[in-house]
């Protein structure tokens, strides 16, 4: 990964070192210990114990404790249920600008905002991201569907996809079907992606997706047995916000690439606009750790510095590889603009997507 580093070998560098020296002499005189010394950081998790986001923060927290100056202790509070909204509101109301309360968020928390749910009264612009962890998703099909390569999708008939809810992460595969103009329908109501995969294995559905870690553990063996055909990934964002191949599955084309192969032109149109809005918040910036934006600069420096040092920690990299899904832990400041862009939706696209899901999947919006 490319990281921005301060280079001190420039003439200005001298001035920096002088200022740094002065600061170093002055701060102890003022009695200022690191912001987090002897403090406890409370992480609010708007999901149940042992869910994906819960495991994510609990796994990386011990390493953050080690690397954040002052070695703060982490405690965790799960405020589960209500589509994550109560947990988000809890943080919005209780957190102060001191960096002692942080929030873990995931795709479930972004979609209500993108879809204009009135109960989701939280405003991401009042918070700043500390850490970001992307996640990827891979689609695959059953050989029984007659599909051998991604290009075969265009002529495949009666594709059936099993999902949880049309206003959750399933929205992204469902949008992909529309974008690629496939003869596919979503059967919703499964309790989790795992149950949907069982339905795929027993032949009830014939096209499915899993997040990359689950794909590697549970679908790759099926592919080796010839029971599944890998198709495409949803893609990731590069530094300038373009959709590119997923580094975790570099051999698979992305959804827009498959579009080009089938249609012979760059993707465009309403569904493409929708895809570009929902894919990033669903996958590319899926897990985010937040603090209130008015927290002292030391809070953000502490976390960003910890990420830089974690990037070189062998133990961290090997031990958390599976939990992070094979993606790097990223500094919040590098993605701040992308994140705030990802949560923007123009009124027209919002109306379009709401119309479409309520028509096709009978979702009722209040």
């Amino acid at each position: 990964m490319n990281r921005i580093r301060l280079k001190t070998a420039r003439p200005i560098g001298k001035w920096f070192s002088v200022i740094a020296l002065v600061l170093a002499l002055v701060t102890p005189a003022l009695g200022a210990a690191p912001h987090y010394e002897g403090k406890t950081i409370e992480a609010v998790i708007p999901f149940p114990v042992a869910g994906g986001s819960d495991i994510w923060i609990r796994t990386i927290a011990p390493y953050l404790e080690k690397y954040i100056p002052g070695n703060p202790r982490f405690t965790f509070r799960n405020v589960a249920g209500g589509r994550g909204i109560p947990g988000m509101m809890d943080f919005a109301l209780k957190a102060k600008g001191d960096g002692l309360m942080v929030l873990v968020s995931s795709a479930t928390n972004y979609f209500p905002v993108l879809l204009g749910d009135k109960a989701a009264k939280y405003d991401f612009r009042q918070w700043k991201p500390l850490l970001v962890n992307p996640v990827g998703g891979v689609m695959y099909a059953s050989p029984a569907s007659g599909i051998k390569r991604p290009e075969d999708l265009a002529k495949a008939k009666d594709l059936i996809y099993g999902g949880i809810s049309a206003i959750g992460l399933d929205l992204i595969p469902l949008i992909s079907f529309e974008l690629l103009e496939l003869d596919a329908k979503g059967v919703l109501g499964f309790k989790g992606r795992g149950e949907a995969r069982i339905a795929f294995e027993r032949g009830e559905t014939n096209i499915d997706y899993q997040t990359t870690p689950a794909y590697n553990a549970t679908v790759v063996p099926l592919i080796k047995e010839g029971k599944a055909i890998p198709l495409m990934s949803f893609g990731q964002l590069d530094d300038s916000g373009n959709i590119v191949r997923d580094p975790a599955v570099p051999d698979l084309p992305t959804v827009p690439e498959v579009y080009e192969k089938i249609k012979g032109k760059k993707p465009s149109g309403r569904f493409w606009e929708t895809y570009k809005v929902f894919m990033p918040s669903g996958f590319a910036v899926q897990k985010i750790l937040w603090a209130k934006a008015d927290s002292p600069a030391e809070v953000f420096r502490g976390f960003y510095g910890a990420v830089d040092r974690l990037d070189k920690d062998k133990e961290f990299l090997t031990k958390t590889d599976k939990v992070l899904g094979g993606y790097p832990l990223l500094r919040g400041d590098r993605l701040e603009k992308t994140i705030h862009q990802a949560f923007q939706i123009d009124a027209e696209t919002q109306r379009f997507v709401k119309d479409w899901v309520s028509r096709k999947y009978r979702v009722k919006f209040d």
Binding site: V49, G81, I198, T205, Y361, K364
Partner: protein, 645 residues
């Protein structure tokens, strides 16, 4: 395969592993005893330790604690009629009447022993089915799973005792309560009245604690005196062992029902226990004593609720799909160690699977042994005046209900359902079908939805569906024959000391139910397509049944409500009010102070305990509650009074 089993067994020679196992079993047993606290609470306490251990030790600790939760949760179910966890609610039906008859020791030992055997059969089944488990699970598609759920619902018919109409109504009410919240495909929120809390539906723990727990506590308080009405005549726990030996067939069948309830996604421990209870009643030659203290009614559900957890390991470890909350946590812990269960698990981590199986088997033995050892002492609790136990029990119930989602809605729901449960009990409405309906609503609706949207109407023609349909038909015919043959006597609970509410309140209650279900039906007109099927399927028959019930009651001879009954009703309402006051105190001052005030006021002001004893009692209750709050990371909101400052 057997090599891996031996390698895993050898690990238990390590004192660290044995220590972990003992620690896990102890934690699981203690938490299981406390009403409302189950597997999730266990893990919340153990989680901080788990993150510092290696994967094998962590699994031993986790599985050790999860395996025994359903062994020790029997204790409060039998002794005070308050289910230790939702899955133990079925055990209250016959276990608690036995305790009232002074046979708590017998009920407990029979329960622990059948739990133990159930757990071991579950572990054995798990081991033997490892090579064939994957195709076995894949055999069941949504339509077959739907039929199994409907079959489970039909078992509610066996649980209605001598009041089929009231039982049917209760089951419909359960279905209706279960459909509160977002419909399976998230298309619509039903009966949520704009409350975020209701989107996820009412938690099972709150329902079980309300309908069975609160109702029983109020009833016991009103009755006064001790729980046991007679001093034990038989040989206590030895009799329980003999009972299990005598009814070994029930134990084996119950365990297998449990294993299957665990293997199939969405059924779960609570439904498994009720299905096992239902099957015991269905196959019994004489049904007079069920609900009044039949030992078979204890053995059935108890042999099922431990083996459910063993069955649950199959989808968890081989498909990475957890069946219940405890296995979801187990899965989470495995992810933490970088192990993603799935098809490769059997090849790559077979020794870990065996560590889990052995831990499960050993924990069952250790847990059952511990509980058996304690049961003579615990049984003596039923000879203490219930007044003195009540504050501790009330506080634990509130604590357990709040813990499930940490939302005050849980406590409102529990109190509301407590009142409902109490009224149902007084009017001889069976509460078992209510809970069965509630538990099975979600899976049934989910699979109905999936079957119709995947297969249209073709699903009815699948061979598995036809076979299960014939079984369903047979079960219904069996119920009707049973009712006609007069095998059953009315009443769910031993009738002694029952408050007779009289004819007018009885009609009033049925009329109220009629109003509720009619409103619910009217409301369902706004639900789209499949979202409306379930509320309609529950309310339309309920309206018909309620109407005929009212006609029947109007024709029945009037029951005179004597002076004594009236006094008892007033007393029960008084106790209920005191629970509401406790809630208000919590809202005002926070949990700690409210618990102290409530306990002291109750013991000193009402029970007339000496102030010094009352103070010590209060102090220890509050200390334990605070300690548990810390361990569980439970955040009670500050009272209104304090949050102002």
């Amino acid at each position: 395969m057997w090599d891996a089993a031996l390698v895993a067994l050898e690990r238990f020679a390590n004192p660290l592993h044995l220590g972990m196992l003992a620690f896990g079993v102890l934690a699981g047993s203690v938490i299981g005893i406390l009403p409302g606290l189950g597997g999730i609470a266990c893990v919340a306490i153990l989680l901080p330790f788990i993150y510092t251990l290696d994967v094998h030790s962590a699994m031993v600790l986790l599985v050790g604690s999860l395996a025994v939760v359903h062994t020790s949760d029997t204790i409060t179910s039998v002794l005070i009629g308050t289910p230790g966890s939702a899955a133990a609610a079925a055990t209250t039906l016959d276990g608690h009447p036995l305790a009232k008859q002074g046979q708590a020791g017998r009920a407990l030992s029979a329960a622990f022993l059948s739990s133990l055997i159930g757990g071991l059969i579950g572990a054995l089944f798990l081991t033997l089915s490892l090579p064939i488990a994957r195709p076995l699970v894949l055999l069941f598609s949504s339509p077959e799973l739907l039929m199994l759920c409907v079959l489970g619902l039909s078992f509610a018919g066996f649980l209605t005792g001598g009041a089929p109409l009231k039982g049917g109504l209760a089951a419909c009410l359960g279905l209706l309560l279960g459909s509160v919240g977002s419909a399976p495909a998230d298309a619509v929120d039903r009966y949520t009245f704009g409350q975020l809390y209701l989107i996820d539906g009412i938690p099972l723990v709150g329902v079980a604690l309300g309908v069975f727990g609160i109702a029983e506590v109020i009833d016991l308080l009103t009755k006064g005196g001790r729980i046991a009405e007679r001093i034990s005549l038989g040989h206590g726990w030895l009799q329980g062992v003999k009972d299990v030996y005598h009814h070994w067939g029930i134990v084996v069948r119950g365990s297998l029902i449990g294993v299957w309830a665990g293997i199939l996604p969405g059924i779960g421990a609570t439904a498994g226990a009720w299905m096992s209870y239902g099957h015991v009643v269905a196959l019994a030659q004489d049904r007079e004593n069920f609900g009044k203290g039949d030992i078979r009614g204890v053995i059935g559900p108890e042999s099922a609720n431990n083996s459910v957890e063993a069955g649950d390991f199959i989808p968890t470890l081989l498909f990475s799909v957890p069946g219940g909350a405890p296995s979801a946590i187990l899965l989470g812990a495995l992810f933490f160690y970088g192990i993603q269960p799935g098809p490769r698990m059997v090849q790559e981590n077979l020794d870990l699977i065996f560590t889990i199986i052995w831990s499960f088997a050993f924990a069952n033995m250790l847990g059952a042994g511990l509980c058996l050892f304690l049961s003579p002492v615990l049984a003596r609790l039923t000879f203490i005046s219930f007044n003195r136990l009540a504050p501790a029990i009330v506080i634990t119930i509130f604590f357990g209900a709040f813990q499930s989602t940490q939302h005050f809605g849980d406590i409102y729901a529990m109190l509301g359902l407590g009142l409902l449960g109490w009224i149902m009990k007084q009017l001889a409405w069976p509460r078992a079908p209510f809970l069965v309906g509630f538990v099975l609503t979600h899976p049934t609706e989910q699979y109905l939805w999936l079957s119709i949207s995947r297969y249209g109407m073709e699903w009815l023609l699948r061979p598995g569906v036809i076979v299960l349909g014939i079984l369903l038909l047979a079960s219904i015919v069996w119920i009707v024959i049973g009712k006609r043959g007069g095998k059953e006597m009315p009443g769910e609970d031993g009738g002694e000391g029952k408050v007779h509410l009289g004819k007018f309140p009885s009609i009033l209650f049925t009329a109220l139910v009629l109003v509720v279900v009619s409103t619910a039906l009217y409301e369902s007109r706004n639900f789209p397509y499949l979202g409306a099927i379930f509320p309609m399927a529950a309310t339309i028959p309920a309206i018909l049944m309620a109407l005929s019930q009212i006609v029947m009651e109007l024709r029945a001879a009037p029951i005179a409500s004597d002076v004594e009954s009236k006094a008892k009703i007033m007393m029960a309402l008084g106790y209920f009010t005191s629970l509401v006051l406790f809630l208000l105190l919590i809202l005002l001052f926070g949990f700690g102070i409210a618990a102290a005030l409530f306990t002291f006021a109750f013991l000193y002001g009402w029970v007339k305990m000496r102030w010094s004893y009352a103070l010590i009692y209060t102090g220890s209750i509050v200390a334990v509650a605070e300690l548990m709050s810390r361990l569980l990371n439970l955040y009670w909101p500050l009272g209104i009074v304090f949050s102002q400052w």
